[in-house]
Symmetry: C2
Subunit: 199 residues, 2 copies
């Protein structure tokens, strides 16, 4: 092996040829999300996405390895609105506002969650991607709660994981089973019940 391979492990060739059209990416993700939100949203095919995006299926598979990957990226794209954690007031109000913001954001992309779940139940790759997404989301809430414990607003023996299971469990339960909306009222009620019981 020549030494310059080690010096340049990935060939930094400056890229020639036609460039990727960014409009294609946007159109595919947008069409996927829109179709999922429409009627028959739970049975959206790649052909339908390609047709709605005005793109050939061949192009989609050039940039995404599977249908699940498209749905996951569409979800990540729409859900990364940063639901920033204020952490200004007390733990009770912080958690409350976090849940309100989360439920509101999730509710707007609920069809994407359902579609990705349907895919995750058939494709282990999609399942893994979804689990990573969920875990990342969970990390934000965990930080909030551990901070609450450190501040003495929650007793140190509080089972934070159980609390998060109750929160996200209820969220998915509404999304997948009952199909009832994740209202602000529900978020407030849940947050108050959990914090009051633990403190």
């Amino acid at each position: 092996m020549p030494s310059d391979v080690a010096r340049e492990p990935v060939a930094p060739r400056p890229h020639t040829g036609r460039r990727r059209n960014p409009a294609v990416r946007e159109a595919v993700l947008k069409s996927a999300a829109d179709l999922l939100a429409g009627p028959d949203g739970l049975t959206v095919s790649m052909d339908a996405i390609a047709q709605a995006a005005g793109v050939s299926k061949h192009t989609i598979y050039r940039w995404w390895p599977s249908k699940g990957a498209v749905l996951l990226e569409a979800l990540v794209e729409r859900a990364q609105q940063e639901t920033s954690i204020p952490r200004t007031g007390t733990l009770a109000t912080d958690v409350e506002s976090f849940l309100v913001a989360t439920f509101d954001a999730v509710e707007r992309v609920a069809p994407l969650f359902r579609g990705l779940m349907a895919e995750a139940l058939r494709d282990s790759k999609a399942a893994e991607g979804m689990r990573e997404f969920v875990a990342a989301r969970r990390q934000g809430l965990r930080a909030l709660l551990t901070h609450g414990v450190e501040q003495g607003e929650l007793p140190p023996e509080t089972d934070l994981e159980l609390m998060m299971d109750q929160i996200y469990g209820l969220m998915w339960y509404h999304l997948l089973i009952t199909h009832t909306p994740l209202t602000e009222e529900l978020a407030v009620h849940l947050a108050r019940t959990l914090i009051r019981s633990a403190a």
Copy 2:
């Protein structure tokens, strides 16, 4: 319309011809449940079920309208072990034993729940059947909790629906997302946390 039609709205013809073989029904439901529990359980086909049961696909579709119906019936068959509610002790112990029994029963048919969920996300008929099943299960717990309110063991303003959402939400969350087992320890911990916080 002759009056005897109203008298006998459905012809009560005594059934002639060859009778249904009950072994077929059992074999199909058993094969469906077993295949779901095996590797690749989330992508079980009707052909595979028919082959494993030693039965032709034609026969399956004679008795069940769809794949979702087969899975639903297999689940109902295996889950109707009556998880009887003792209601002997206090509410706290009753709920605790109810959750322990429920988690144990559900854990043993977890693959069926996942398979049915996958089907419910594509077939609205299957989704409706699953919702009915879930609602029936929920009714048992609701009776237990309302009885607790009547006995003064829970304050009357307790939001029982929210409490049940937290319980079944957590259950489905573990089943579908995290894939972590529903242990007896978890059931006890959840029951105590919920009852203690409400009382």
